[in-house]
């Protein structure tokens, strides 16, 4: 093939000031705003259904009280004089159950993670205990510790300590070996290795266990109150349920969810502040 013209063919692109349609940058900000709007719209739709379905009779208002009735029930509940007592009781149970349970989990987890012989000795018992679905222990704890807050705290501890224990133990066992070798090359003592390398290396896992423990402590306290109590939000929920005051049942559920949500966000915030480094295998 012969070519007369061996020059490179180029097309000239005149540079004018006006952008063409393809030049408009992708509107990331704008499109995100649209999705947010979509979510809000969906939420409003759900609330509308919540209000209208029972009122129109598609769903029995006994099973699903309309949204506005529920909100009113929530309001009257919160301002009632007996509410604060129950609220604080449950809060107290969750708080102490979580604190003691997490502490036990940490201490035992560190002991088992650091001392191999101790782990081999006790680990089967720990696993056996965990195999028991803790819910079934509730009546037992009531029988042992009575109707008061103690039995609920024990329940919260019983469910909450294991995730902390196992995560702490596994975290300490899986410290990257080259970090240990680094410390050995400096002739670091065992305590130095533990405090400067092992513990911080394990902390992401440990913290994940602690977050789980809080959720479990909440569940433990509520379940304990279901089984046998005279006070607390779980007790209230059970009582209202028995009375078929479902609007109040929903209200308590909402309050418990808010408690769980607030705790979760606090721990998430702590997580981001304390565990501030990337953890993908590093």
């Amino acid at each position: 093939m012969t070519t007369e013209n061996t020059e490179l063919r180029t097309t000239e692109a005149p540079l004018t000031g006006a952008p063409t349609a393809e030049d408009v940058p992708l509107d990331v900000e704008g499109s995100q705003w649209k999705w947010r709007l979509g979510t809000v719209a969906t939420g409003l739709l759900l609330f509308a259904l919540w209000e209208l379905l029972p009122r129109a009779g598609f769903v029995s208002p006994i099973i699903l009280p309309p949204f506005t009735d529920t909100m009113y029930a929530l309001y009257t509940l919160v301002i009632s004089d007996f509410f604060m007592g129950h609220f604080l009781v449950t809060l107290n149970e969750i708080f102490w159950g979580f604190l003691i349970g997490a502490t036990i989990g940490l201490v035992v987890g560190i002991a088992l993670g650091v001392f191999e012989p101790l782990k081999r000795l006790t680990y089967p018992f720990v696993v056996a205990f965990q195999a028991v679905p803790k819910i079934v222990l509730a009546p037992l704890f009531i029988a042992w510790f009575g109707y008061g807050q103690t039995s609920k705290i024990v329940m919260a501890i019983a469910i909450g300590f294991f995730p902390v224990l196992i995560n702490t133990m596994v975290g300490l066992e899986n410290v990257p070996n080259d970090r240990i070798q680094l410390m050995r090359s400096l002739r670091a003592s065992k305590m130095q290795i533990f405090r400067k390398v092992s513990l911080p290396s394990a902390s992401p896992l440990m913290f994940a266990g602690i977050k789980t423990a809080l959720t479990f402590a909440l569940i433990g306290a509520i379940v304990g109150e279901f089984v046998g109590a005279s006070e607390g939000l779980g007790f209230l929920l059970d009582t209202y349920n028995f009375q078929l005051r479902i609007d109040r049942v929903f209200s308590v559920i909402i309050i418990l969810s808010l408690i769980g949500g607030v705790f979760y966000f606090v721990l998430e915030w702590l997580d981001k502040r304390l565990i501030f480094w990337r953890q993908d295998g590093v």
Binding site: R184, S185, R187, F276, Q279
Partner: protein, 289 residues
């Protein structure tokens, strides 16, 4: 000073600005150091046959060989991190019983603690040694300047490139001025340009200061460029195949790689490696049959 049997040594084969006579103290001696592993069911595996080697103070010695030749095992034994099955490692005339704070180790990965800033990472040895942070502040600052990371003292490791992280690791080990630097393929994970730059930097940091370096690599030109002596190792079983002296003067520039002598040396190393690899049909190691 007993002369070593086994691989030949040419004293005075290198000069650095400090000592003209070429006669130096031997800071490290490997006295028939060997490592054998016992495996379940398959008897013994000879990872490294006895090595006899003398490392003069202030010299740069490379251990070059393919994977499985035992160079990392050997380095770990020199570091005191791994006990030899037979033989001993002599540091300044005394047999090693464990790691020494006069030796610094750089591993293949930077191994920086991700929750510590660059500065805090470099300060780790000082903390372990029980020194007051304020007393070492200046030295840390100096060392960070030496590796060019003075502006990054508060950065977290996750924000640094691989090359920068290795430089932090280098600063960490140089900060306490060990007499011997042990390096296990520290630049292996870096791209060629960064690696070359790091090699030049390593020379400028260690030669003038008279730091003894034992450097493991599988990159022959890197070994020849950096070292006074290249110890060539082969595998199956791991052993020293030979030792080659590199006679270039210091300070060395990248240009030295263009000289005929350089390529000849690389070729010589390669020959030694190939010669011993050909015998790999029947492993001389004692796997019990």
């Amino acid at each position: 000073m007993p002369s070593a049997s086994g691989p030949r040594f040419i004293e005075g084969g290198y000069q650095n600005g400090k000592n003209e006579t070429g006669e130096r103290g031997v800071i490290l001696e490997l006295d028939s150091v060997a490592k054998t592993y016992r495996t379940r069911g398959r008897g013994h595996v000879e990872a490294l046959r006895p090595v006899r080697l003398q490392v003069p103070e202030g010299s740069f010695v490379s251990l070059v060989g393919p994977s499985g030749c035992g160079k990392t095992t050997l380095l770990n034994m020199i570091a005191g991190l791994l006990p030899p099955t037979s033989g001993r490692v002599l540091f300044e005339g005394e047999a090693l019983t464990g790691p020494s704070r006069d030796m610094g180790v750089m591993f293949q990965q930077p191994v920086l603690l991700p929750w510590r800033s660059v500065e805090k990472n470099v300060m780790l040895p000082a903390e372990v040694f029980g020194l007051e942070p304020s007393s070492v502040q200046e030295r840390i600052g100096e060392t960070l300047e030496m590796v060019g990371l003075a502006d990054f003292s508060n950065a977290l490791p996750q924000h640094l490139s691989g090359g920068m992280q290795q430089r932090v690791a280098l600063a960490r080990v140089l900060a306490y001025r060990p007499k011997v630097l042990l390096m296990d393929e520290p630049f292996g994970a870096l791209d060629e340009f960064t690696r070359e730059a790091m090699n030049v930097e390593l020379l400028s940091l260690t030669r003038p200061a008279g730091i003894t370096v034992v450097f493991v690599t599988h990159n022959i030109s890197e070994a020849v460029f950096l070292s006074h002596r290249v110890v060539v190792m082969s595998s199956r079983p791991g052993r020293v195949a030979g030792v080659i002296d590199v006679p270039f003067d210091d300070p060395r520039e990248i240009d030295v790689m263009r000289e005929r002598t350089f390529t000849d040396l690389v070729f010589e190393v390669r020959e030694l490696l190939d010669k011993h690899e050909d015998r790999s049909g029947a492993p001389a190691g004692s796997e019990t049959t």
